[in-house]
Amino acid sequence: MAYKIVMPQLGLTMEEGSVTSWLKKPGEWVDKGETLFTVETDKVEMEVESMGKGYLGTIQVELGAKVPVGTLLAMLTDEPDTAS
């Protein structure tokens, strides 16, 4: 089953954030609980663990670009996405 990775809500007042790094590459397997990317907000920089598992698909946002909470960052799928 595909799992959506979105810009997480990290705290009550957060409205947007930027991904500053990915710890996995597209096509790599990601387990639930593995640290997947880091996010910077106006308050913190934080490592984010994966809530789902699967093969990481194409990354949809540029590093450092501010995007609203809930923005799709990438998908996790049962099969590796051959296009990526």
């Binding site: 979105v6 997480p8 705290g11 913190v44």
Partner: protein, 325 residues
Amino acid sequence: MSERVLAEQISQELLLAYYKKVLELRLFELKVQELYRNGRLPGFVHLYVGEEAVAVGVCSNLQTADLVFSTHRGHGHALAKGVPAGVVLAELWGKATGSSGGRGGSMHMYAPEYGFMGTNGIVGAPIPLATGAALSAKVRKHSQVVVCFFGDGAVNSGSFHEAVNLGSVWDLPVVYVCENNLYATEMAFVRATKNTSVASRAAAYGMLGVEVDGQDVVAVHEVAQAAIQRARGDGGPTLIECKTYRYVGHHEGDPGTDYRTREEVQQWKKQDPVKLARQRLLDSGMDENKLQTADQQVEQLIDDAVEFAEKSPEPSAASVTEHVF
């Protein structure tokens, strides 16, 4: 008393029940974390991940009529006291089916029909409330026992000193349970006080203080059982210090890494309450298949709770003037 001796004293059936409850609290909070981060749940949440054995070990000794007063980190206390997972989740979701009709949320969640007298956003505030409830039980000659949970951050507040002293001098049927997770938000307990033994403070009030491994549900259960029996038998209060740890940040959004080391977090995860309870069951001879069935039952319970809460209606606009003064 060694842990082995304790483990032999309780039946496999009870041990399995404790394990499933500890797992329920864990999976519930991880689900809340996921829903919150995905922007589904409103408000502000403090998660109980890592501390589950305390709530389950204590509340497994309580009856429905007994009362629990909780903290800002209280979802686990509500579940352990018997509030159904769907009702707790619906409350977090602001739904009409939540225990407080969706108006309380994480830190004002009440379910008196289950003896759950509320989570509380103010550190230390529930301690006088619990003491008052225990006084009420004593005056009414009711057999109720009151349990008050609070963190290490509360024990240097005046409300702790005043309330615990009153509880002791009046021999009230209350059990004070400190969940010492070593940090009050970002403040390390060793930087907040010279006397880092909370249990030892009981001597100042002339009451019994006990320290216990808060990661071991059986150890907590045994200590709490003695304290609750003493309270019910008019033997007065006990101060229990549970040594525990939160794996996550203080609240969702706190990375939890600026004021403690990753090594420290990893070290505590080696004494994980879920793993410890599971290992006790394996040691007691339970086979892996039976444990997997138990795991699936708890996972299903959480899935059902999500479905219930998600499908529940929002409070109606017509009810907006209810519960206000």
